[in-house]
Assembly symmetry: C2
Homo-oligomer: 484 residues x 2
């Protein structure tokens, strides 16, 4: 009977049966029910089968958010093929590396993203849509241990690694989230983050598992996001701080409807001024910690703790556990160490990388490489990604801490801090600052000296127009280091 | 990594960590948080360990609903021991049979239920509470494939069978339910059905998995149930038709608060007059189909369909599937056959009964022995328990159908129909009727003739004071047959 437990009905198909008329997706002003979507997906699956996509094949998707991308993701699942979600911002060379690494059989791409990959089949969306249909056996159920999707993460060093995400990882991630955030009649999730990142894909998976609608945006626009919340019934939105900041500015003196119940904030803790603005406007902010390897959130901070536990990412989701480990032992409360997590949402490992997998996953625990601590009550504080740690004269400096201070200056709009080589100290912190109004380097330095130990204050400030962020708006520190 | 997927944190312990201050149980006017309950359970687990209860032991609980019973159930789970939930209405002889069948090491019982079972250790609650504590290794996590609880079902014929319910069965049952019913801040579930039945135990499991409170009643009282809904924040209640009927009568012209969002009705479809009363009072009735072997509901009818799909038990829960099978093939829509179900909430089988297990579970599908059909849209209609089928002159008569008609007569309060031996026809239906006001046999016969094919109309009516129902208020047809 354990076979039963390792199986669920095909999610979208089950939704098309159980709740056929509910909204599945709103895209470019049109509504698609679960039944509509299922029918579009069945057709697409047969078209994909016509170009010889079948069970076990690995297919790359090089697409921007669109209804068509959603259809392709589901259709590949119906066929039992594995989705490799390719980041549309990569260079052709970077993409080719991933395509070869994942042994991709075919790349499906938006017409304008079409690239020639030597020795690989590439099909544009326009071509695919013209394909005939070929009868195919479509999956009525999913095996939870099967790999559903693969996403590459650059990791700390070396070549990107393909993170394998099973149907079970997506399932448990969605279940862990629902046990924390609840589920209400009429819930609707704004999807304005990339589907090729886990932040976006996880919303799509929740939609079919919960039977709730999504409002899909092809790219993020603060104005459109606010309109979706104010006028289109969105009750939950996934954002990062930079998006939330833009949305608050665009919102001006306006507010969101009472039915908007969750602003799910990823990509690091929010600075206090933003939380204060949200409190004024009664926007409930849930700060989260998660990564590609945990298939989205693994910890979340409930809004009632956002000031009393400022900077925390909260407690683990119900099916998950978190430990802090240093020198092979569990840390005491408030003692820093590596964040180590466990749960059925955690990847079984990296594609073709047994060494990296065994390094990251030991005794069922995933070693994130991130630094943090748990307070006495078990709230998680993420200090920094290990690779970003600035070691200066034997002291540890966490860029996020320095950035939070600089960002709290009223004239600063955005900031990124990285370590700069220094003969005397090894490394010293250096800040790249985007200003909202005039402010001098000396003013900022004095401001920092008031709030930070001297060794943590950046030795240099560079004023820039904008910071390098990836499609999820996460700061790309590697780029900043190149700028140095 | 599949080990991860087969494991969850210990549910109550995780709740005591994640949401320590939320209400876990309200009992006899006192509130207990998840942390309170966890601490009581830890103490009890150590007391149980003192009397030599340890991992893998099988322990009988012979108790009526109480906080102490809840504590014992959790404490046995913390120790890795298996709970056998004994029905307090059984005779000592019937109990002894189950105790021997399950190879029970010790029976914990309410003081007033204490019985001597030859060769078996029996401990009253009073004795247990006086035990010293002995340090014990308490489980931080549960293995989903492990058996958590055993409940005996009488089945259609022969000796009762022990239904094994794994942690995974309880988990998936709770998850299937939450994906259907949703989960809101402040949800609170009325538990006024027996904890020794799956209807009651499943509420307890949901409470710790969802992190919601329960209001626990030692036995059902319509007045107390209504008070809990009106004044104590109950938002969901589990009932059977007889309970709901009493509650409606007790409620009189009063109504429930808007926050009361779900009346979960098991034990067979509700008659139209009751549904109409509920509609008037805006009580959302969710009719369900389930059994001990499916660890509670496996299908549920949403309130919006309660009239358009009158008599239906709805569609399967998200992780489950339902088929109708006759002569080894799948039936067409509206064609009657045996109800066959699949899902991770389905028992791995009967204790020590490989034959019965292999008979009931084939290719991962559980053959319920119940008769029913699916309509064109996939809504399930349960016609009857197979054992209750009345075959009369080659025609099939389903008692539930006849009962629903008689119950719709304004002078009838309760009714049970069984087959009576008849030389000519094999069997004929016979009705036992509880009247709310004067009505003659002839009047009822004429009433039925208007609504039923002649062969379905009972050949005899017996007026009685009350009907035999079990602790879950389910009609005991076997008893009625004895009355004939």
């Amino acid at each position: 009977m354990s076979a039963n437990r390792n199986e669920t009905p095909n999610w979208l198909k089950q939704r098309a049966f159980l709740t056929p008329n509910r909204l599945a997706i709103r895209y470019e002003g049109k509504n698609y029910s679960f039944l509509d979507l299922h029918q579009l997906v069945e057709k697409r699956a047969r078209q994909l089968h016509q170009i010889d996509i079948k069970r076990g094949d690995t297919v790359g998707l090089l697409m921007k958010n669109s209804l068509e991308m959603v259809i392709n993701i589901h259709a590949l699942m119906y066929l039992g093929a594995v989705n490799v979600l390719l980041n549309t911002r990569l260079t052709a060379e970077e993409l080719l590396w991933q395509i070869n690494d994942a042994n991709i059989k075919c790349v499906i791409c938006d017409d304008e993203l079409s690239v020639h990959f030597p020795g690989k089949k590439v099909m544009t969306l326009s071509e695919l849509k013209l394909c005939d249909e070929k009868e195919a056996a479509l999956d009525d159920s999913f095996i939870l241990d099967d790999v559903a999707t693969i996403m590459y993460t650059s990791g700390t060093t070396g070549k990107p690694k393909g993170v394998q995400q099973t149907f079970g990882n997506h399932w448990w991630s969605a279940i862990g989230s629902v046990l924390n955030l609840g589920l209400k009649d009429g819930d609707c999730w704004l999807l304005a983050v990339p589907l090729f990142h886990i932040s976006g894909l996880s919303i799509l998976m929740r939609s079919v598992i919960y039977g709730i609608g999504i409002v899909l945006h092809s790219s993020f626009s603060a104005k459109e996001a606010n309109r979706a919340i104010k006028n289109e019934g969105v009750t939950i939105a996934s954002v990062v701080t930079a998006m939330l900041n833009d949305m608050l500015q665009e919102l001006g003196s306006d507010t969101y409807p009472k039915s908007f119940r969750c602003m799910l904030l990823g990509g690091g803790p929010a600075p206090r001024p933003i939380l204060e603005q949200c409190r004024e406007k009664e926007i409930p902010v849930f700060q989260t910690y998660g990564m590609t390897e945990t298939c989205s959130q693994i910890a979340t901070l409930a809004p009632e703790f956002c000031f009393s536990k400022l900077g925390s990412a909260g407690k683990p989701l119900f099916p998950a556990q978190i430990r802090i480990v240093a020198d092979g032992r569990d840390c005491s409360p408030n003692e820093e160490g590596e964040i180590v997590v466990k749960g059925p949402n955690v990847t079984p490992g990296y594609l073709h990388r047994p060494d990296a997998t065994n390094e990251a996953i030991r005794d069922g625990w995933f070693y994130t490489g991130d630094l943090g601590y748990l307070d006495e009550e078990g709230f998680l504080y993420v200090l920094d990604r290990r690779s970003d740690l600035i070691v200066s004269g034997g002291e540890n400096i966490y860029p996020a801490e320095v950035e939070a201070v600089i960002l709290s200056h009223p004239s600063v709009k955005d900031v990124g801090v990285v370590g700069k080589e220094n003969k005397k100290w090894g490394k010293v912190p250096h800040a790249f600052v985007v200003r909202s109004e005039e402010v001098s380097e000396e003013e900022l330095r004095q401001f920092c000296l008031k709030k930070l130990a001297k060794y943590k204050v950046p030795k240099g400030f560079t004023f820039v127009e904008s910071l390098p962020r990836n499609a999820s708006k996460k700061l790309l520190r590697r780029k900043l280091k190149e700028w140095l």
